[in-house]
Symmetry: C3
Subunit: 148 residues, 3 copies
């Protein structure tokens, strides 16, 4: 993983480039911790050699696992970073493209990069916070000061 | 719906968080009106408990409706806001992920959030305008000053 | 194609609007050349009347072609621009929605706009560079200064 801050000032922009074998979820959490990121949004494209997507089951209050075996294009990876009780709260959703163009989509639970994942991250000066939602058990984004 | 301006200055960044039962299309129009937004782009992730996607039919000059029943992950929601004759011109396209990971995709016509939709919105200082296109009847984005 | 710079200053924001018949890949390369863009990220929505998606084959070190015939919604187009040895290095991945909502996804190899493609582009003050990767032959994003 390589990290380059490409804009300083009140808001910061980063390019984060992952290489073969990297875990992008742990990698982005590490960047968030090291750089003190919160209130960030990101988009990314690239490819994985394996991934597990998730679909939230409201009865079990947990994600069903949807394994995606073999090489796939990361066609859309959209996410955000907020403060959460357990450290950086990272939320990522991915659309993956298979060899025949079939698209599979869901919450990103696990992934292994091959050969690259190119993340563009925009950080904002004010922090965003995640709080545990009693109804679902999910850590939902909770703007700490309602209203603009 | 909660709105937090997370960056002031010439361009503004907002986090808009929708909750269960919210209509994100009407909600984003309300934010655009209340905050005077134009020339904005946004990305979002979350989940819906129902949605209707659209595919534009050039013969009828209207959208075919593609109902998506039941809970789905909002895996990619990309859009923009511009001024239009009828108020804020909101254009949203969505990729939705079903329980088995199947992806469905189209123009977003209707949606009901469950349990959250997290929108990150970047507003630019110059306005963008939509104008009605005679050929299709669509309100297409028309940069008012051609050239940079 | 119409180009409007909607934010000046250290980072620049552009709206690039393509019209029927435009080639968005050549168009974005032209904008990148004309405006001296590098270190940019973009999102777009709209529609194509034909497209070819790609899936990278590591044995052949080239993309398999996945033709998408007929009108489709451009539901997610995410990409970035970096300097590369051959001029602007443009990397685009697309999720396309068919008439019935079926999603197809991959690297964008060819496309013809109909009736519009609305691109929002954020340029950063520092440059990003692509370098040829010996293992794959791909021009991968290589932050020139590792670390922030």
């Amino acid at each position: 993983m390589q990290v380059k801050r490409i804009k300083d000032g009140p808001e910061r922009i980063y390019a984060v480039v992952f290489q073969t074998g990297d875990d992008p979820i742990e990698g982005l959490k590490a960047v968030a911790r090291d750089e003190g990121l919160a209130g960030s949004s990101l988009t990314a494209i690239g490819a994985f050699r394996r991934a597990v997507l998730g679909f939230f089951d409201f009865d079990r209050k947990d994600y069903d696992r949807i394994p995606v075996e073999g090489q796939c294009e990361v066609v859309s990876l959209i996410g955000n970073i907020a403060e959460s009780p357990d450290g950086p709260g990272l939320h990522l959703h991915a659309v993956l493209g298979k060899r025949d163009g079939q698209a599979v989509a869901g919450h990103l639970l696990e992934a292994e990069v091959h050969p690259t994942l190119e993340v563009m991250l925009l950080e904002s000066p004010k922090h965003l916070v995640r709080r545990k939602d009693a109804a679902t058990g999910l850590a939902l984004l909770a703007p700490s000061t309602p209203g603009p």
